[in-house]
Amino acid sequence: MKDDSAVTRTWGQSILIAVLLALAAATVAVLVDDFASQDQEDERAEEVQRLLGGLGFGAAVDLSLCPFSFDPRLSCRCAADLFPISGGGWFCPRHACSIFYYPPLDVVAVPQRLDSEQVEVGNAKIP
């Protein structure tokens, strides 16, 4: 009886180790497949991006509520930040639980040269 329980225990250990090894092998196979397909996916993605001129960046698939979360090139910050209340970006449903957060693009209004070769900064004209 003592030998039987020892044999059973050894048999159980062997099965457990075999199952763990099988899980590890399957996991490695899955990760190799994932890694190997990355280059091909990058190529396909770049092809369509060259066609569109670079469109899409965030975790949204349309412009309905927040163009910024679709692509910061279309809107430099969340539209809800300005309307209907200031700072409303914190409540934008497109960002809640966002798994791909990025800050607003810094946009600076550079002094622009006028026809009269004066540079306008704010309300002052500087020759």
Binding site: R44, F57, P72
Partner: protein
């Protein structure tokens, strides 16, 4: 060394001694680990697609800026932009939002000049738009499925234009495995997009391609030397230029989504998982405490008991990690992120028609491995240590 291996083998045995405990612990950890791995994998997939969007896009994006918001500018600005030294080509682009169909499906309309389209392309089933009496459209796969469109389908006018509306024809569909942003996309010619949005002669932005290395110079020239004529009411629109470097600078910050709700939610979930493991390991599992008491009474030292528990924890966390990766792979690849894609991606159905982007290797796998180990070990080692440091009589009670 042999003693070490013998003690380690007892760690394997201890997994089998309490199979229900091992199973419940694994389920608790998997319940937290699997959705976290899937979410992280989708985040990495989107990041890879965003990087491709930056790489495949233009060197500079020029649009108008008024009251802190981007506004479209006249297509007439294409020529002054093209004249800047260092600029190789300038492509006007229209990007706008339209609604079509009975259910007012939201779509992203993109218009580009016909000469910008290549003769053939692999990512579109059908063909690209050409000059025609109809509005020729290439539609994204999700939108096509919802509107029941196929190549050759005719769409009645879905827009208003004072100059009149035309029928539209679907001449191509984007392939489902190219990009998630094509899901609700309508690609057409620049003239057609301007007619649909009723914005003749305007462009959302200009795609500026430059010689390598001169992008900062060109950007400076655009912002300081060019001006947009003032409107009839005296309103002014200024140029804003976004470079490829500006967008690439956003990407690393995208990885650090510790500021997001995602990590906050899962931090709470992992804390709960640790408490569950604590309960199954010793705090609420009197048989394990008695077992440790018996081991102590038969001469086992505290460090030997901890080593046994460590081996048990490592094997259990390894099993949880492997199962989480396999389940995550099945969920993302074979089930295409069924339901969970709609949680993490805004505006997506429970069963998306496009391929949900994901990357499991290397960061998501490494992070979930560490979390799995931390959860199992924190719950197991602590309760084992508590039981191992008391007198055997108390532990066996």
């Amino acid at each position: 060394m042999r003693r070490f291996l013998e003690i380690a083998r007892t760690g394997v045995t201890s997994l089998l001694l309490f199979p229900m405990r091992s199973l419940v612990t694994a389920v608790c950890v998997l319940a937290a680990l699997c959705p976290f791995l899937v979410g992280l994998g989708i985040s990495r997939g989107i990041q890879a697609e965003a990087a491709a969007s930056v790489r495949g896009g233009a060197d500079l994006y020029v649009s108008g800026l008024q009251m802190g918001q981007r506004v479209p500018i006249s297509q007439a600005m294409q020529l002054p932009l093209a004249r800047i030294d260092g600029v190789t080509s300038v492509v006007p682009r229209i990007v706008g939002s339209v609604e079509l169909g009975r259910n007012r499906e939201n779509a992203v309309l993109v218009g580009l000049p016909l000469m910008h389209f290549p003769a053939s392309i692999d990512c579109v089933e059908g063909r690209l738009p050409q000059s025609s009496n109809l509005n020729e459209l290439v539609v994204g796969v999700d939108l096509a499925r919802r509107l029941k469109l196929d190549v050759g389908a005719i769409i009645p006018p879905f827009y208003r234009n004072d100059r009149g509306e035309r029928l539209s024809q679907v001449v191509g569909l984007f392939r489902s495995d190219v990009s998630l942003w094509q899901a609700n996309l309508i690609l057409t010619s620049l003239e057609t997009a301007a007619a649909i949005l009723d914005q003749p002669g305007m462009a959302t932005d200009f795609l500026v391609y430059c010689r390598p290395g001169v992008e900062p110079f060109v950007s400076q020239q655009i912002q300081q030397s060019l001006s947009i004529p003032a409107g009839d009411d005296g309103s002014r629109v200024r140029f804003t230029v976004t470079s490829r470097e500006d967008l690439q600078a956003l990407l690393p910050k995208g990885i650090l989504h510790r500021e997001g709700i995602f990590n906050l939610h899962f931090t709470l979930i992992f804390v709960a998982a640790i408490f569950c493991v604590l309960v199954t390991s010793g705090q609420g599992h009197s048989e394990r405490r008695r077992e440790i008491g018996i081991l102590k009474a038969t001469g086992w030292q505290t460090d030997e008991i901890l080593l046994r528990s460590l081996v048990e924890s490592v094997l259990l966390s390894l099993a949880c990690e492997c199962i989480a990766i396999l389940l995550g792979f099945v969920w993302l690849k074979w089930l295409n992120g069924y339901w969970i894609a709609s949680v993490f991606l805004a505006g997506v159905d429970a069963a998306p028609a496009f391929r949900v982007p994901f990357r499991l290797f290397p960061v998501p796998v490494l992070v979930t491995g560490l979390l799995s180990l931390a959860c199992v070990m924190t719950g197991t080692i602590y309760s084992t240590w508590r039981a191992a440091t008391v007198s055997p009589l108390v532990a066996m009670r």
